[in-house]
Symmetry: C2
Subunit: 328 residues, 2 copies
Amino acid sequence: MNAPDHPAAQGKIMLVGLGPGSHDHLTARARAAIAEADTIIGYVTYIRLIADLVEGKEVIKKSMTEELDRAVEALDRARQGKKVALISSGDAGVYGMAGPTFEVLFQAGWTPDADIEVEIVPGASAINTCAALVGAPLTHDFCAISLSDLLTPWPTIARRLDAVAYADFVVALYNPKSGRRTQQIVEAQRLFLRHRDPQTPVAIVKSGHRPKQRIELTTLERMAEAEIGMLSTVLIGNSNTFIKHGLMVTPRGYANKYAVEAGERNTHAGEQAGRSLSTGLNGWLATIQASGRSAAELAADYGLPEDYIAAALLSELPPAGEEAEIEG
Amino acid sequence: MNAPDHPAAQGKIMLVGLGPGSHDHLTARARAAIAEADTIIGYVTYIRLIADLVEGKEVIKKSMTEELDRAVEALDRARQGKKVALISSGDAGVYGMAGPTFEVLFQAGWTPDADIEVEIVPGASAINTCAALVGAPLTHDFCAISLSDLLTPWPTIARRLDAVAYADFVVALYNPKSGRRTQQIVEAQRLFLRHRDPQTPVAIVKSGHRPKQRIELTTLERMAEAEIGMLSTVLIGNSNTFIKHGLMVTPRGYANKYAVEAGERNTHAGEQAGRSLSTGLNGWLATIQASGRSAAELAADYGLPEDYIAAALLSELPPAGEEAEIEG
């Protein structure tokens, strides 16, 4: 940080993720950042969630569409030496204010060694906080897709939906529906049904961890009929996800370690439940190299690109061995 | 909750996500859950992160491989009427203890109205907390993939890598590499290079928000050469992600709202920068229906399945209209 010629107060922009909005789920740093700030800027709904923490501060409430205005106001105040908290629900980096703010800062010629400090305070995103309310749906690979086509071309969104439906991710849909934008969730359902069982579990969480919280468990087949709005997050399970006793759970792959009730799990194409050790990378390379089958045949079997299989057939087998993994 | 015949203390299992591990990023609820617990169970490395919060409690340290043991111990203590905090780094639902715990509970005949309460305390996952350290890479659709093939067949992982590389997600790789498991990151790179520019920005965050934090910004082409270990998270940008002044930023799609320096953005196939309003679902349906082109031609143009395009060509145009969206 360069020392300013005049010893003025140094401005700061803090991008604060509130988590779901209840004070219980604020991090210590998020709360301290709000306390440290002279100025609070955010969407009016989110400012309401922390109303008791912003008394005596300058509070700038913006509508949903004024994201760039929020960033411009933050920069303006920070240039005056103010400490500004730009608040987002969930995580400030996930469809939040962090991206637009850096774009505005760069555009204004800001650099990290300039006289305005920028701090990002992470928070739990809607995918995490909604998942916590319905069970354990995110135990395996997952992704987040916004169905808002306001700034993203629909074909880009559709390609993403199709790709992750095929590749069997657990998927969270952000911005699934709004008053005027009602067809996107139907299109998403159509793309998913090309690859997934109509009975795939789906959870719809509205206003999670807030007073008007509402949770609905349904299926892919019935998803589009459910009550979904601007404050809903839609969680679609993978091919192994099940609902039991009102909880949505995605197993991580422990099928070989204890008995599992019949009918709760499916084995995905190319996957063998309980045979994971032998189907890791090394085991798989050994299997395909010993198979005597062509790259084209193997590509069809495994649903993988032929050129990738061809390279794998030529690759040297690394020494075998497995070890435990870290959590995320 | 059914009243027990004997008024014994009611057991409770709290699945607590610590976030990155520093006390600053603990939520109020996570801290309170740890305080409320009689017994703390977790991986030894994570227990060390909260050592000062667990004094005077029974602390059960487990190795990385003993996930089911941890869940079984938690159930055992909860049956004795204890309050147990099962701790995970990041979010307890993301490759964490929530999934294995519900599986063990179900196996033991537990139901939500039984005498043991279960609470999931969400936290910010590594994808969020690492992103906060490098800029704003998650501004657009993203996914998380674990490269651990200990419990997941490699073809499943490879299909997922290929699908999301094609569909232009921002991707976080969890468990990217370990002492013995070094080839998976090379395979991931190979699959990504089938679809992505070798110059795609990549950030590698090791021990984020902890004393030994280390951040490396690199490219897809050089990713596999970087220092990556068990405590690293790898963030791969999408086709619009750029690095500027040491920050990794994914634009959300504001290209039409202010000037952008040449060379920082690419327009993805089928995507027109700054033309988002006319390429939303309604605009796109109108465009393809007026094009006079066949479903096969359009499928090739847009990289979407022909049957999906065929259905879209027949679909009724919903009334036009756009509105603002909620953040996540």
